[in-house]
Every structure is written in C-alpha cells, then in structure tokens.
C-alpha cells in the first residue's frame, strides 16, 4: 500500500503510566481509517503525538515518507496534517469566516510588513485567502453565518466550522477527534456522507477517533483498536469485529 502515515512503536509515558504502548500501524493514502477504543485508551494522546502537540517517549511517526516525530505542531500542520479537537477548540471571539482564514494566513506566511506597508502582493494574498475561506464556509453550510462570532454558533455549527478550518490547511491527512460526539442520528448520517464527500473532492486521507460503532463500521476501510494504550487489533472492520481480543475488550459489550 502507499502509506501516507507510518507509525512505529510509538509510546508515551506519563510518569509511571504508559498512556500509549508501542503502537504500530499504517494508514494508506485515500483510506478512511478509524481509531476506536474505550475511554482512556490513549486515542487522543496518540493523535497529539501524531500532530506534534505531545512528544513521544519513544517510537517514530512518518508522514508522506518524512520523519515528523516531535516536530513543531505548526510545521506539521503546514506540511498537510490537520486536525479537529474532541472538545472543539475554535477561536470563539473571531467570526466564522476569520476562523477559517487563520490557517490560510499561516500557510501564506502573512507578514507584519504586509500588514503595515500593504503592497499589491499582500492585498492579493488577502483576497485569495478570503475567497478560499468563503468557499470552505459555504461547503459546510455556514455561509449564512459567515460574520457571526464562532462562539455564538450552535453545537453542530461549531463542529462543522472546526472541520472547515482544518480543511483550510489543504491537508493530505485529516485527523478528526470524535467528530460525531453530541450529534443526533440524522446529523451523524450527514457527517458520514460529508466525510466521504470531502475525501473524494479533496483527495484526502481521513483518520478519525470515534465511539459510534455503526458509523465506524460503515465508513472505514480499516480500523485500529486501542485498549489501555495497547493496539490490540488492526484491519478490516469485519475482521476486527470478530477478533476475540477486541470482543472481550470493547466491541463485545457494545455489540450485545
């Protein structure tokens, strides 16, 4: 497979506690890959290590063939790995449109000189960023509220905005941390459709953490199961579902 992400023996210890233990897996380009496991299994910690927010105790992460272990998160983001957060971290005091513009400015390296002196080049950058931002806001159905404060959006809107913002980084790999949390069944279906849509439209690979088993089963080509920091299974959903270790640790209870 053409692996866009290669994780090898990745571990994170907090004092005596192994939050993530020697996890290894690969994600193929264009895949929708699910990461599941009970609470506290280390999923978000894994995400944090992939995106650079947390330095691994040991192991390596290779993104598009390049070693990115322990790099600055801002650099990793600009390299094409974008994420959303479990607890939604928007720029609440900024408008919907501005939230999406920020990553665009970061990518375009909008500088201080541009702001002060403001030549044609700087104005051009601004214009293009604004256009792209409007497109993305439109894509997630928030164009009617483009000027509203992010903090004023309803829950579903905030989730969608966070995804739009992540897409502004023109990522190759999109990491979603429990994107369906708090959504009603209709919205969950909508989200699944949306993920497929953007995967095809932008040629993305999607890696997402999720508790909702049917959603994961239906959407993912492959899934990995974490339990207490250990990777206990990885493979096609049906195979993983039948894996006795998984059944015992997690799926068995949800399935029953």
């Amino acid at each position: 497979m053409n692996a866009i992400l290669r994780v090898q023996d990745l571990s994170k210890a907090f004092g005596g506690l192994m939050a993530v233990s020697s996890v290894s897996f690969e994600v193929a380009e264009g895949e929708i890959f699910g990461l599941i496991g009970p609470n506290g299994a280390g999923k978000t910690t894994l995400f944090n290590m992939l995106t650079g927010l947390c330095t691994p105790t040991s192991g390596s992460v290779r993104f598009q063939g390049r070693e990115i272990t322990g790099l600055d998160p801002a650099r990793i983001a600009r390299m094409g790995m974008a994420r959303t957060f479990q607890n939604i971290r928007l720029f609440g005091g900024l408008s919907v449109l501005d939230n999406v513009r920020v990553p665009l400015h970061a990518m375009a390296r909008s500088g201080l000189w541009g702001a002060l002196a403001g030549g044609a080049a700087a104005r051009d950058k601004e214009r293009r960023a604004l256009e792209k931002a409007r497109e993305l806001v439109d894509l997630v159905g928030l164009s009617g509220r483009a000027g509203a404060l992010a903090a004023s959006l309803p829950y579903g809107g905030r989730r969608r905005l966070e995804i739009a913002r992540a897409l502004a980084l023109s990522p190759k790999l999109l990491l979603l941390d429990e994107p369906a949390a708090g959504l009603n069944p209709a919205e969950k279906v909508e989200l699944s459709r949306f993920i497929l849509d953007i995967r095809d439209r932008f040629g993305l690979t999607v890696l997402f953490i999720e508790h909702n088993v049917p959603m994961v089963m239906g959407l993912c080509q492959r899934i990995a199961v974490l339990n207490f920091g250990d990777l206990i299974a990885v493979g096609a959903p049906e195979a993983v579902q039948a894996d006795p270790a998984v059944v015992e640790a997690y799926l068995g209870e949800a399935h029953a």
Binding site: A74, A77, R89
Partner: protein, 291 residues
Amino acid sequence: MEDFIARYGFLFVTILQQALLGLSFYLPLMAGQLSLAGIGFYSLGGYVAAVMGTHPALAPWRDSLGFLFFPLEWLCALALSVPLALALGFPALRLRGIYLALATIAFVQVLGVVVLNLPLAGGAVGIFGIPQAFESRLAYVWFFGPLLALALLLVWRVERSGFGRMLFAIREDELAARAMGVAITWRKVQAFVLGCALAGVAGAMSAPFLNTWNARQGTFDASVACLAYVLIGGARSKWGPLLGAALLVSLPEVLRPLKDSRMILNGLVLVLACVYMPRGIAGLFSRRKGS
C-alpha cells in the same frame, strides 16, 4: 482661554503622549501576551534622545541638521530598540502568562539599575536641559496628535490584516492556533518587537517635550500606570490606551483640590474599574465583535 491652555495644554499633550505609550502595551496584548517591557524601551528611547540632544560631541550635527536632528533621534531610538527587543523577545516569549509578565518586570528593573550606573545617562539625576522641539506646549498637541492618529491607523491596519487575525487567534486559543499552522512564538515576538519599538520611539519623542529625563520614566510604577490605561480603557480595543489615559491622567488633576487624598482616589478608581468595568471603558461601548 490662555489660562485654560496654560493649565490644561500640558495635560492634554500628556494624555496623547501616554496613549502612545499605552499602545505599545496593547500590541503584545493583541496576542494575549502581558508584557511590561515597553516602559523600559520608552526609558531607553528617551535617554537616546536626551543624550543626543545634549552631548557636546554631537553639537555640530545638531547645528547642521536643525530640526531634522529630531527625526534622527527617533531613528536612533528605533535602531536600538528593535535588536534589543528581538534579543529579549525570543527567550521571554516562550514563557506563559504571569511568568512572561515577571520576566518583563525583571528586565525593566535590571535596565533601571544599569542606566543608573551609566555616567552617560547622568546617574540618578538624569539628563536635563534637553532642547525643545517646539516653542510652546500647545505646539506639541499638533505633534503628538497626528502621531497618535498615525499609530492608531497602523494598529488598525494590523488588526484588519492576516497577521492581526493570527495574533487574535493566539489570544483566543494558543494551542489551537499552533495546531492550525500559526508560528506562535515568531508571531508573538513580532507583536512584542512592534510594541517595544513604538515605546522606544515614543520615548525619544517625549524627552524633548519633558525637557529632563531620568530613571523615573522607566520604573515599575510607570509601567503599572501604563498597564492601567490599557486595562481600564479596554484591553481589547486600540482605543483603550487613549480612553484609559484620558481618564487616569486627568483624574489627579481634576481631583487636585483634594490635595493629598487624590492618589488614594486614583487607586480607588482602579479597583472600582476592575470590579465594575472588567471590559474597560471601550467594553461599555461595543458588544464583543469579530474582526
């Protein structure tokens, strides 16, 4: 009218001048960074202008350049401030919250001691007899006024730019900003350097106005006063420093009849403003808005 100008002209110019200094505190605050270093640069800039204005070795330059000597002073202050701010900013801005504030307080204190020990700076007495740029106090209004307007214009441009939005993003949620590709330390440093540079130039412009310059310009008390302008005026608005300075500079004057109690009332105003106007004066006028 003459009387009014004589009494309140100085006050009015002081408000404008302090607002300019206050803006230097506002700039790093746009990125959520509380820095009190600006006052150190203000002091430094003032000394640059003071020394350049009075040192005998530079007399021929002063004579030949005439009024143009003053912009030269500002440029020299800028040339000194920017590298120093960069050198200070990179290590300091990796610190968070109160640690950054304390580091900047420490910088100001150390600078104060160093300056006191520099014979060039006139020791504890400082430098006096700095040549005036203009004849009358009122003339300075036409100087600081447009200058403040220009500074506000520049800040407005920054606020509306991509760079400004990144600063606000850092203020809103630094971690998320980082995850969205913003080079947070570099952006914070840029805001910091801009603020310090503004403070340095403000200092160089203020020394001729005040005629004398000494270490009192760069004390902790002075930085507290500046911080108070920004917070009371509204920490989230570029108008904050002007509004805050207008209130806090004029208050002791307005209360002058109360003689000794006026500083007590000044302190009381600070406390009451913190409790009842947490968003500052500017916050009373606007709902929270996006950019």
